[in-house]
Symmetry: C2
Subunit: 814 residues, 2 copies
């Protein structure tokens, strides 16, 4: 079952099993999905936060440290002087056995040394703001053992940015309390905070530490904390400096005996009028309530069962059984899991995103919904409402918003001109999935006209006309500060270091135009027209259509370079992504969006554009963003040219846009090419590249270095990428072709023969469809015949009105 020297997929348990602590990079998992979150690596490194990774960081983590991934929730065993961690680090003692099982919302670490086994299972229960560590210690030997078990974590002083910078204040503020087996972290609770955290265990303590220097020692580190090496905590009371939480348990085990301890690291908020139970003593009632829910092994295990049941149920809404296990693994487990994580986190907190930077992106968050709407449609609905509420009545949008306040980020502002149309995609996809057409009439005022009862439909219309009202010299959409490619900055002209390319703009933006937005406008403009018709807004529909038709004409007239679509016109109205350019002759985004929009299907341009993508942009590791790479910085183009060739937007494989080509190829009916592009970046298909890739072999990364890079095929920025939603969307809606529409489920596969026949279970609204797709003899594209419950049905649409409930659907392809 081992697929690489680092680990393997255990599909039955929905786990990835890491078999060494020494992965090329830390390989992480996410815990929590309801406000309280944790990032946890394969050695139990990482940190936790409540809602906002910047403003409510609970435990401390240091990014890009030496060694990597220093800091986490560590458990230590001192077995007669032999010190080790079940997670294999940070102590350097080599274990007799190590494994880390990253599962759905939990991670399990099994370490074994000198006939002692420790199984640490860490998860965040569905309903509470706490992280549970169920730690089972087993004496597998023939003689009795007396072990010391230590826990350890370091508190962040809440504001993660301030915590790492403002030492002249923060070294004086730390405060804790210790009562029985619970360590309370109450820094700043005395002033403006009505919340604290705690770390408890359901057993009496042999000792504790709350001051880092006492526990770790001044010049020791977490690989050799002084108290652990000395076999004794010091019962230190932190006042300022760096508060930590460490428990010491003395554990006696007969041969074969196991003992299980439940550690709970919780976060609680307290009624502002009831903060204190005595002067200076925090009100511990809410903590006690939470602790009582998990104070036995049985309770903790039951909470874990509830969590895994939740995930089993969630993932069962769309399952696939094809002839290729790699496809099944991706679609049934890991891609969906990543979709939820990305939906929850946006781009805020990963091992590459430090959690102190950005709010939720308008563009990102809209796109993240398309991989998640079938899982938890109510959450998608709420997200869309939040996003729409930051939109302006002219259709423009704040580029980001803050998840805690749900307000637009004024520091970044707007004028990223692709933003508005992504709302159309998100709404259309959500309504098609859920059938919730009433949502189109749901009132969400624009940010600048709070008194006007605008509906979601009005937002879509405003998005549409924002493009119409912002056209440039070629009647193509003005790009603003940037479109989807944040790094193609055509109105920045920056020569100052320390200046943001993306929020700087010099002069107006009335010249530079984007072909990517042009394609996007045609594609989602057509969605808008369809929605208008659905609602009976026929005048709106008929007024909108000519704008779309005109855009198609503009693209054909001014946007075709001869063999592919241009990318843009710059601030001088010179083409970008053209044979005329020395570098950056062809870009992926406009090929993807113009073809997905159906432009050039009538005259061969679409096919020619995709053939050019294959010829110029495709490589073993995926499809590069553009070619040739820019060798020098060009202030007229901005950040894209700031990267060394082959990395990021400068001719890297920026995975997010690869699925656009997959969709387009499927639309053209080229099943082999669609699958080929899909699999080049899909983790389960490229396990053999793990050594080169370095990032987690179970999730997508934002970027893989391209053919111009020094090291080709090296991935970066795993987990939080629009790639997850988009590649899932491409695979399910275009390769498998199971595509929700307003009135039912379209079944229009474009299946490469290598996938064999496919069985699918698809929950769709309140229906459950058991779908069998049989390969035909021909192209894999289009349906030769379809039966529902054994009865032949014309066409490829399963009308929801006719087929609620559970049905068997059998399809044979052409």
């Amino acid at each position: 079952m081992t697929s690489s020297s680092y680990g393997y997929f255990d599909d039955a348990n929905k786990e990835y099993v890491v078999t060494t602590p020494f992965t090329p990079l830390p390989w992480i998992n996410y815990l929590g999905n309801n406000g309280f979150f944790g990032l946890i690596s394969n050695t139990s490194g990482g940190y936790s936060f409540y809602r906002d990774a910047k403003f409510r960081r609970i435990t401390r983590y240091r990014y890009n440290n030496v060694p990597m991934d220093s800091g986490g929730r560590y458990f230590y065993i001192n077995d007669g002087g032999t010190v080790w961690n079940p997670g294999g680090r940070p102590v350097r003692t080599e274990l007799d056995h190590y494994e880390c099982r990253h599962g759905m919302g939990y991670s399990k670490f099994i370490g074994r040394k000198n006939a002692v086994e420790v199984e640490q299972t860490t998860f965040i229960p569905l309903e509470d703001t706490c992280e549970i560590h169920r730690v089972k210690v087993t004496n597998q030997g023939d003689s009795a053992k007396t072990l010391k078990l230590f826990s350890s974590l370091e508190w962040c002083l809440w504001n993660a940015e301030d915590d790492g910078a403002n030492f002249q204040r923060n070294f004086s503020t730390g405060e804790v309390e210790v009562v029985d087996s619970t360590i309370y972290h109450k820094t700043e609770y005395r002033e403006r905070r009505n919340h604290y955290s705690f770390f408890s265990v359901n057993a009496p303590l042999a000792g504790f530490d709350t001051d880092r220097q006492h526990f770790v020692g001044v010049y020791n580190d977490y690989s050799c904390p002084k108290a652990v090496m000395d076999s004794a905590c010091t019962n230190s009371e932190a006042h300022g400096w760096s508060p930590v939480a460490a428990h010491q348990l003395d554990v006696e085990l007969a041969p074969g005996e196991s003992k299980t301890f439940v550690f709970v690291m919780g976060y609680v908020e307290v009624d502002a009028d009831n903060k204190w139970q005595a002067p200076g003593i925090i009100n511990k009632a809410p903590a006690a309530d939470m602790q009582a829910k998990y104070d036995t092994e049985a309770k903790a295990t039951a909470a874990l069962k509830t969590l895994t049941d939740y995930w089993d149920n969630l993932l069962s809404r769309f399952t696939v059984k094809s002839g290729d296990d790699r496809l099944n693994r991706a679609l049934n487990i890991w891609n969906q899991y990543q979709n939820m994580v990305t939906f929850n986190m946006s781009r805020s907190a990963s091992y590459f995103e430090s959690g102190i930077g950005r709010g939720m992106g308008f563009r990102d968050s809209n796109q993240d919904t398309i991989g998640f709407a079938h899982m938890v449609p109510s959450a998608v609905r709420e997200r869309i409402v939040d996003l729409a509420a930051t939109q302006q009545s002219d259709g423009s949008a704040y580029h980001q918003y803050q998840p805690l306040t749900k307000k637009g980020n004024a520091d970044v502002g707007g004028n990223f001109n692709d933003d508005p149309m992504w709302l159309v995609l998100a709404v259309a996809n959500y309504v098609k999935e859920s059938g919730d057409t009433d949502f189109l009439h749901f009132v969400v005022p624009f940010e600048d006209t709070p008194e006007v009862p605008s509906t979601i439909y009005h937002h879509l219309k405003a998005s549409f006309y924002h493009v119409v009202n912002n056209l440039g010299p070629h009647q193509l959409p003005l790009i603003g500060r940037a479109d989807w490619n944040d790094c193609l900055n055509l109105n920045c002209f920056s020569t100052e270091p320390n200046e943001s390319y993306q929020t700087t703009q010099r002069g107006d933006s009335k010249v530079a135009e984007s072909l990517m937005i042009a394609g996007q406008f045609v594609l989602y403009g057509n969605e808008f027209v369809e929605i208008a018709k659905l609602l009976g807004m026929d005048v709106d529909a008929s007024e909108a259509q000519p704008h779309i038709d005109a855009m198609v004409a503009s693209v054909k007239q001014h946007g075709w370079d001869g063999e592919w679509f241009l990318r843009a016109y710059d601030s001088q109205s010179k083409p970008i992504g053209s044979q005329q350019n020395d570098e950056g002759k062809i870009f992926i985004e406009s090929q993807g969006f113009c073809t997905m929009a159906g432009i050039g299907f009538d005259d061969g341009k679409a096919e020619q554009a995709l053939d050019s993508v294959e010829k110029h942009l495709a490589c073993e590791y995926g499809v590069m963003l553009q070619q040739p790479a820019y060798s020098d910085y060009n202030p007229l183009y901005g950040e894209i040219t700031s990267y060394p060739p082959g990395y990021k937007e400068n001719a890297g494989i920026f995975c997010h846009n690869n699925p656009w080509i997959v969709v387009a190829e499927a639309m053209l009916g080229r099943a082999d090419k669609a699958l080929s592009y899909y699999t080049r970046i899909t983790p389960s298909f490229i396990e053999h590249l793990t050594e080169r890739h370095k990032t987690e072999p179970y999730v997508y990364s934002q970027m893989i270095s391209g053919q111009d890079a020094y090291i080709q095929g090296e991935a970066k920025n795993s987990w939080l990428t629009g790639t997850a939603a988009w590649n899932y969307y491409a695979a399910t809606q275009y390769i498998l072709g199971i595509r929700p529409e307003y009135n039912g489920l379209r079944i229009e596969p474009c299946l490469d023969k290598s996938l064999g026949d496919v069985q699918i279970v698809r929950h769709f609204r309140d229906a459950v469809y058991h779908i069998t797709i049989n390969q035909g003899d021909g192209t894999g594209k289009g349906i030769a015949s379809m039966t529902i419950d054994g009865k032949p049905v014309a066409g490829d649409l399963v009308e929801y009105a006719d087929y609620a409930g559970e049905h068997q659907i059998e399809v044979v392809l052409n």
Copy 2:
């Protein structure tokens, strides 16, 4: 000579000698004084930057790491498998001998193990933007040795804040070049930067590394870098991730033989039109020029000599020989040294100030000049001009300005109502020291009226009237957002965490008043009147005087609480620092400033106020800021109440204000009390408290925990504190009583008998005075007789007009 278990003063060499790598906290030194700076700890940890610690960070450092002080310029020896550092860390190998000598602008590390000695001398030459490491390796044994010598440092990607946060970009941008024995760091040089750095050595390499993972290993750290442990660098070429610079030298040494290598870590800027010597190859000419200046041991040693000569000369401008070596050591060496560092750094970069936070404070920087004007008056003049240029024509001032741009910091703004009057102190002190009265006519326009040719004198007048025009209900100065105590926030009323107390303001600020500003206004208002008279602006002088007199009256009428001066009136016009308060009954600031202003000398209030300070605020470790400590947060008072009792402004010993009491006591003629307060916080007098203090025993710290703290007498925030300038000012101008005035040097000592007779050499403008102070039989206060060159002179003023050149002055005290 050993004074503690951690080290001792070596006065002859102007060094503090640290005798263990394992100090309670890292003990650091500063290198550089002309734009290029380095912080270096007693184990060679730390980092370097050019001008601005945030925007031009050269090497990478991680604050508050585990273990402490991880990261620096480390040299490693691998001696047949035994690996160690001359600085004693980060490798954990115990040395046979270790010492670190922190000197004036250099630090020297001597490590010895198995008959190999390495002496690493690190300094920044006076004239260049580079850090030099002279590394001498000696075989003290009887047999030949073949050693591996490795260097190591980690590059920061220039913007220190971005470097630690924006990994999704920064892991893709790193670029280096290696030519011969020089490693060039050129990240972002390809785009908007016209500068790069390098690390070179004057010997051929056996190998090198530029990629951290190759040098350190993924899961190793700087205590066991993989390449060092393996005895071989990998010649790695960094592309993205984390670029480092590590050299490997193979060193063969006969018995008794020494070899010396010169490593140079430099920063160079390149003409924007001449950045490249070939496509993608940086122009190395400026680096080559710099390297050539230090490419032999002799050249490096000569540069070090130039540096130590510079310091010897600088410190010779004011030397003291009293009967107490501790006083001599403080005033002749360390206090002056710290004054320069504080003047250069303001509060930007120390081991407590992360270098990414604040600009230069208007208030701080003005005060920092008073300990430095006798050393480099031209630098003080330039600083005052920079500060004045950010002032508004109504006298108000930006609270901070950015050293790179020299512009006021609009994010922080102004309305800290003590700010303007500090300019009077700085200017008066500078002119008195230098005799540069023309400076008062020097044109520096106000920031808001750039077309008006306002002079420095106009700035002083604007400062004066800013107070006059901003009086409150008791005709006392309105406090604004805060006065000197940034944490007494009387118009903030904050209940939101993550909100700055100091930049938040709710409502107007027309009620809350400050007695500290009242005293400051009287004190520096009198200076203004004196300056007006000096310039013949008699109308100005006579118009100003009544405002001062009125303020004295207001203080006596509304500012006296019965036994001491009130601290303030809050936003409700209720007193702060009064018997009426339950907590915070008495504060130090208003006692210091009202008495220094001479208020209450006529009616006993000054003496009573200082007696109250002694009774209520003084403790073994210094004078606390207020008493009793605030036990709860009070939104009406703000940040001061946010700290746990005994720390920082909440009843900590905030050392900066202690010298105010010293000055006031000296003015009262109470020599014993003046000296007692001075010595409680002066490092050389409290070496025996080092274990408790934890911070460097050779410099002042900002804060020492007070009697309410859990651990009393624990110091924090060493180095960058106004304490340095102020305590030096108090000791030299009030205890020794050597006080510059416009027309000469006043000699008015207030000398405790324990100091014995005192010899002083004082350079004053172009004169050199050899002053002998003989203790009289009485109070130590006031002069019984004075002779100059043997001739009796009336009074205590040495008129500069009469005594240019070199003179012998003998004084006998009452």
